[in-house]
């Protein structure tokens, strides 16, 4: 996931750039291992909360 652009990455580059802009991500920003691990944990914590909420509101929370 670094080095020369893969053919799919050349096709998807514009879509990818738009996604990053939408989410406020600076794609060129490098992370230290601690920041990287933090982002990974945060991302999966958000996933846990989302699934938990969806199941508790399975029927639309009526």
């Amino acid at each position: 996931m670094e080095g020369e652009a893969h053919f799919a990455q050349r096709w998807g580059a514009r879509f990818e750039a738009r996604l990053y802009r939408l989410c406020g991500i600076d794609a060129a920003q490098e992370m230290t291992w601690l920041q990287y691990a933090g982002a990974l944990l945060l991302f999966n914590l958000a996933g846990t909360l989302l699934i938990y909420a969806l199941q508790r509101c399975n029927s639309g929370c009526r």
Binding site: E30, I51, C57, N58, S59
Partner: protein, 161 residues
């Protein structure tokens, strides 16, 4: 997207499933097709099938990157890695696989469960749902998990240094 009108799951069961899907274990203490609404299945469980697999892939990639980069403080950007893993690997593979499954007759709809009469004149409910799209990533995600397990050459390299 809840034609069967399933109700909310209990707190402990929901927590168990949430942790299970985030860790790519994908274990449920109930039968998914008779408890989960289509929306919860697609937006929650299948989404997390993608994202937990993508998380696993980034960990594998970033470990290799850590070995490769010598005397470097940074190891890349997590958000970029997780986006690329989903966008260029998991989504295309899941798309191809789910279309193949549909071609082989796997169901893919949002209908309610129809009742059928068996040959012995018993009543039977046939579970429906968007099965092909969910089955594709469900089968792919654990494969990604296996492929991101550190292999022997990596272990040998750690010992040498």
């Amino acid at each position: 997207m809840n034609p069967q009108h399933f109700t909310a799951l209990s707190a402990d069961s929901a927590f168990n499933t949430a942790v299970s899907f985030v860790t790519n274990t994908d274990w449920q203490g109930y039968s998914g097709e008779s408890a989960m609404s289509y929306f919860s299945q697609a937006a929650g469980l299948s989404l997390q099938n993608f994202l937990s697999a993508a998380s696993g892939l980034t960990v594998a990639v970033v470990m290799v990157r850590g070995f490769k980069r010598f005397n470097s403080a940074s190891i890349g950007n997590f958000w970029v890695d997780v986006t690329r893993a989903s966008l260029y690997l998991l989504l295309p593979l899941a798309l191809i696989f789910s279309v193949f499954l549909m071609g082989q007759g796997v169901i893919q709809n949002l209908n309610g469960d129809p009742a059928a009469t068996t040959l012995e004149a018993h009543q039977q409910t046939l579970p429906m749902g968007p099965v092909a799209s969910q089955e594709a990533i469900k089968e792919l995600a654990p494969m990604e998990a296996v492929s991101s397990t550190p292999t022997r050459p990596t272990v040998r390299r750690i010992r040498r240094r």
